[in-house]
Amino acid sequence: MYSCSDLKKGIKILIDGEPHVIVGFDFTKPGKGQSLYKCKLRNMVTGSLFDRTYRSGESFEPASLVESDMQFLYQDDSGYVFMDQKNYEQIVLTEDVLADDKYFLVDNMEVKVLMFGDRGIGLTLPIFVNLRVTVSDPWVKGDTAAGNNKPATVETGYNLQVPSFVDEGTLIQIDTRTGDYVTRVKE
């Protein structure tokens, strides 16, 4: 169990059975009054943010989370299906949990899934992913408004800006942390 004096940014605690991470923390104690621990919390399942103030004497159950090595198998009506590399069990992550990460999943990709009990609540992708450009109009000469970039769509439906020389059908590398174009991939 954690006590109030253990609270700080990055600590993960259970609230109503759900894992929450402290993303903002401030200790205060008005003149001769009680210690107040003002926390900004993020629900690690839903992503919702809220403030809560705790007082000394309260205790907290740590949220135990593990990261498992998994392989992305396929997407179907139930969601995105992954297989644990250790025990070959399959789990499903929903679109809500994945958010924009869903655009960077390719079949057989190796990822880390953040597990809360038997629930997958988050994903760590490889830093770089290669995806093929499916739609990108040729660059219009003289269109300098966007510099030398033009819009493109890749096979997963993700939209981004690419340099003017990238044609439809080109395999490109994307940085999953920023979602930005990195380079063309030689095939």
């Binding site: 008005p30 001769k32 009054g33």
Partner: protein
């Protein structure tokens, strides 16, 4: 990257000068500087202040009791700059070991200390305006006097006594009132509910109010002052009530500071104040965090 102590050098030099100026102010005002032991058998019991044990004794949470025994022995105007310890207090404005300035005057009440605060701040900062974190605070005018009741009326939806009953007093002070105090000129927040001031005298004719004030500048709580309670019977009763409120797991002590209680009947009418030196240095050096104005935080040791 420069070493953290190199980065602090300018602030620590300013800190040293500020402390020298504080001494000069009190010496010029006719005060005697005193030193009392920092390791003591018993602190004054306070519900929300947790002393640190030192063997069978404790480190002082404030030099208050020893200084009042000096008053009882006939010392009139005294001041002390000393280290104090309060367990588990750590934040932007808190260190578990910090530096406190306390001064006491006999034969006066807390209104005299309000003037002392005005004079001390003006002595330390000859400019008429202080700039703290983008907030401009005028020091030329008299400090604002705001009663706790007025502050609750102005900034909350309730009154102090209801807030205490609903166990919201501290939260409202910390989050709704404090951040709005002392923003254009320093604020003296005065007249606290009596149950929140176990060492303070009650207002004559209004026993529900204690003659206690706090000094705020730029939302920062700087000092806490009382007209001192001099009635030993009343003091023993208040200490006992305070001890009952301390949770058993919170370092509750079983012994009262008996030598202080037995000297108290000799203490003349007096007023005393404790001012956080580190916070004053934060304010005068425009520092966001207390970490910037001490050589070492606990984490840096």
């Amino acid at each position: 990257m420069a070493h953290f102590l190199t980065e602090k050098q300018d602030k620590l030099m300013q800190r040293a000068r500020i402390i020298q100026r504080i001494r000069a102010f009190f010496i010029e005002s006719g005060f005697l500087e005193v030193e009392t032991p920092q390791r003591i058998p018993a602190n004054a019991p306070e519900t929300h202040i947790r002393p640190l044990a030192s063997g069978d004794w404790q480190l002082q949470t404030s030099p208050e009791l020893a200084m009042k025994r000096l008053l009882a022995a006939g010392y009139n105007n005294i001041f002390q700059i000393s280290h104090c310890w309060r367990d588990a207090e750590r934040g932007r404005k808190h260190l578990p070991e910090f530096t406190m300035l306390e001064w006491y005057r006999s034969h006066c009440d807390y209104t005299q200390l309000m003037s002392d605060c005005e004079n001390l701040l003006r002595f330390l900062l000859p400019e008429t305006e202080l700039n703290y974190q983008g907030q401009r605070i005028n020091l030329d005018q008299p400090f604002e006097r705001l009663s706790v009741a007025e502050a609750f009326h102005r900034y909350t939806d309730t009154d102090p006594l209801s807030a205490i009953r609903e166990d919201r007093f501290d939260e409202l002070i910390a989050f709704s009132i404090e951040p709005r105090l002392g923003l254009t000129r320093p604020t003296l927040l005065y007249e606290y509910p009596a149950e929140l001031a176990s060492l303070a005298r009650c207002k004559p004719g209004q026993p529900e109010l204690a003659e206690r004030f706090e000094l705020y500048i730029a939302g920062l709580e700087l000092a806490n002052a009382f007209s001192e309670l001099t009635d030993p019977k009343e003091q023993r009763l208040r200490f006992s009530m305070e001890m009952l409120k301390i949770p058993a797991n919170n370092g509750r002590q079983t012994n009262l500071p008996e030598p202080f209680l037995s000297d108290l009947h000799r203490m003349p009418q007096a007023a005393g104040i404790a001012l956080g030196v580190d916070r004053l240095v934060m304010l005068l050096t425009n520092s966001h965090s207390i970490d910037q104005v001490v050589a070492f935080t606990p984490e840096e040791l």
